[in-house]
Assembly symmetry: C2
Homo-oligomer: 479 residues x 2
């Protein structure tokens, strides 16, 4: 009984989302006017959140109290409590609100014409036939994420800006905060040109399991969170999933690498933010470097020392370890060098740990990355353009870097203004995904105003019309 009722509740939520999406498509005129209407809706949401600050704060405190009890019981980490906390850290609340306005101000990803062709010219009796490809929303998004409550507002803003409807599910630890914020968003939306159901939130894990089967109504799932969460969603979802489970990023240092560039960037890639998906986890060293035959015989000892000084544990294979022993590192530093285990090369440490392996050359580095990487971000350090070209062309990772830190794989750093997440999938949007990843396109064909029969059959047989397939200026077609 419970299962039936949950399932129909999931179907109901999903259907309402699709209806709201379709209703919004009908209500809004499109183009700049529609974007302005969406911006007005976002500002309404921001204002409503500001007004409800006290109530949200109280709810957030209740979530924190409950979380602190679990921390005392050893069931939750203190870092999770700090992610839950929306008010103690200076600027966090204000920056969440500011984010709403910033998304509103971004260029609209909609109604962009990316292909325009005159399929057939007009003739004495018939008008021309033109084809346009223009961007449009995807439809209904199901966004699943963990503790941080501000993500609800962030994702709601992105969904509204891109013309989609969204069903949001946050972590259970933030449920009081999420409940109040969701109500505030819904009430604000009810005063706008958009249907209130374009944003809905769900609270329980059971809802999500059922929603993942509503492929009739939900078009795309976007999970953000632990590997485990993402992997279970990828397994269960009957619709496409955009995101990444693993972030096993690798760096290969070629024999001719520049030491300054390599040391500065690789230390950054490891320690800038160890818990990030774009932090480096495995270092591949060209054999010549450990044999003292590289461009700089000291590159590896210098790099190792810099990493060790930053408290990184180096999980070394025999050759890389032997080279450090020969270099005579400070004994205390050297105590953080351990023997690598085969499984370390498949481990996303998300901590101050780095697996190290010596490879004969660039081809073996590419093979290792293909076998152990996660198609997220991989970098080469080299001063040779033939090596960097071979590396960047051979790998299919979403981000392939030359002489810089893997940490640059990020939507803000890429200049997208905002980031929906990072995708390691092979189709649709990949790498850091900005608003562009939340839109798709449709083809619009129109017969010219000169009138005349526009039948495909007219292009066959005797006296057939001819295809012209001439480029047209790209712009939203006015019919």
């Amino acid at each position: 009984m419970a299962s039936t009722s949950t399932s129909s509740s999931a179907e109901n939520i999903a259907r309402r989302a699709k209806t709201a999406f379709q209703e919004a498509q009908k209500r809004l005129p499109g183009g700049k006017e529609a974007d302005a209407a969406r911006a007005r809706a976002l500002e309404k949401i921001r204002a409503a959140l500001e007004e409800a600050k006290d109530e949200i704060k109280q709810a957030n405190e209740k979530d924190m109290e409950a979380a602190n009890v679990l921390v005392q019981q050893g069931k939750l980490s203190t870092s999770l409590v700090s992610r839950l906390d929306l008010f103690s850290k200076p600027g966090k609340w204000a920056s969440m609100l500011q984010g709403v306005s910033e998304v509103a101000a971004l260029p609209t990803p909609l109604d962009v014409c990316t292909y325009a062709k005159r399929l057939a010219d007009s003739d004495a009796s018939r008008g021309a036939l033109d084809l346009y490809r223009v961007t449009c929303p995807i439809g209904v998004l199901l966004c699943i994420f963990e503790a941080r409550p501000e993500v609800i507002i962030n994702i709601a803003s992105l969904a509204i800006k891109s013309g989609n409807a969204a069903i949001l599910k946050g972590g259970k630890e933030s449920k009081m905060t999420a409940a109040v914020m969701s109500r505030v968003v819904a009430q604000a939306l009810a005063q706008t040109e958009l249907p209130a159901d374009v944003i809905q939130t769900v609270e329980t894990r059971e809802d999500v399991a059922d929603l993942l089967h509503q492929d009739r109504y939900i078009d795309l799932v976007i999970p953000r969170g632990s590997n485990e969460l993402v992997r279970s969603i990828q397994r269960e979802a009957r619709m496409p999933v955009m995101g990444h489970a693993d972030g096993l990023c690798l760096i290969y240092v070629h024999e001719d690498a520049d030491t300054t560039a390599a040391v500065g960037s690789i230390v950054d890639a490891k320690i800038d933010y160890t818990a990030a998906c774009n932090a480096v986890e495995t270092l591949l060293l060209n054999e010549k470097l450990v044999e003292g035959k590289g461009k700089d015989a000291q590159l590896w000892p210098k790099l190792a020392e810099a990493l060790l000084r930053k408290k990184v544990t180096l999980h070394c294979d025999q050759k890389s370890k032997a080279a450090l022993e020969a270099a005579g590192l400070d004994r205390e530093l050297a105590s953080s060098i351990v023997d690598v285990k085969e499984e370390d090369y498949d481990t996303e440490f998300l901590d101050l740990d780095l697996a190290v392996k010596v490879v004969p050359g660039i081809d073996e580095a590419i093979d290792h990355i293909n076998a152990h990487g996660s198609n997220h971000t991989d970098a080469i350090f080299t001063t040779s353009s033939s090596a960097s070209d071979r590396f960047t062309r051979s790998l299919s990772s979403a981000n392939v870097f030359v002489n810089c830190s893997t940490r640059f794989a990020d939507g803000f750093r890429y200049g997208f203004g905002t980031e929906v997440g990072i995708s390691t999938g092979r189709i649709h949007a990949r790498g850091p995904v900005g608003l562009e990843g939340l839109v798709t396109y449709k083809y619009l064909a129109k017969a010219g105003k000169e009138g005349g029969v526009q039948a495909a059959g007219a292009f066959n047989g005797d006296g057939a019309r001819e295809w012209s397939h001439r480029e047209l200026e790209k712009g939203y077609p006015i019919f």
Copy 2:
């Protein structure tokens, strides 16, 4: 036991495909040189097929003999036998070979730069940091299709041109032909710069079932065939599927439609090729048209008569039928007007049948299309730009047309040179999919030759570097 061995055989095929893909990525230099190498491989395949013509013809005759036995037993349709036949229809074999060269000559979809930004300018001590987004192959494609044996060569050509590896599975009826052609392709590939395993074929249905679970190696499934085939693949596949199960296309005729345009195009949309996925199946009529209050009171009777003369059975609702009775159609013609059943609006007839429904206005037409359509191709007939704009903006179908036949939804007609298939999915490629749909992209970031540390941490805190995010000229980056 059988299942285990099949499963490991599927895994083996999939793994070999991925290895071949990765090997090809390493072997070919990229850019024009790589495209030329792929073109050479395609011409080798063409020549090998020409040389093996007699052998292929013998195998094709055996397939036809076996199929004819099944036709006599009533287990197979004669139309399938004609699709199997590669040699009797004049030009079919030659056009298959010509297709290989045509694909080879298309502009390469690879190495196209679609985004280029200077993330940070150089300063006294550090080089610039640049970002490029360039197109690249998706990886391993699993292509599943039915009887026509020439599709094997067509899809193999597209996969090679786009730098992907492909696993092909044709219909069991064409298995002798497919086996010979596959061997010829493999032997030809063995004499090229490409690994022979970039194209593999599998023969049994069991292989496919297991391949659909090899998401570790296979990146995209492309099914072409019956609704049933596609739907079962969508259900089973653990990787993304690009294609369409249904092609329930609709046409809405607005009150102000031009009669000549509407009659010519709608007859074409129904009869040009009734078995096509882009043929119209449901006609929605604005109420004013059946009340004699439209721009042309005779539009509906004229349209109905034109359809009936082409032997179309009209499945009419009460209002549309009453209007025809009032118009006094020829009695024999009128005998092909039948009462519509509710399920007709959800039926892809693929035959000389058309469901007809009267709707109060454009909004109800949009609602009906959202509820019953398949997001394939939907058209409006109107002389008002506000109506066409409302229609094209509100619908999310892959193809939305104004005053022309739904039959134009086709890759060749769109000017793509070739067509991989038509997708009704919401993400990645949709509508008619050309070579562009077989590629994805990766981000390449490179630090300028001036050297200097490229650490993300350098952009934080005091004395931080600044982001510039300036547009660069789009071109494949030379590192």
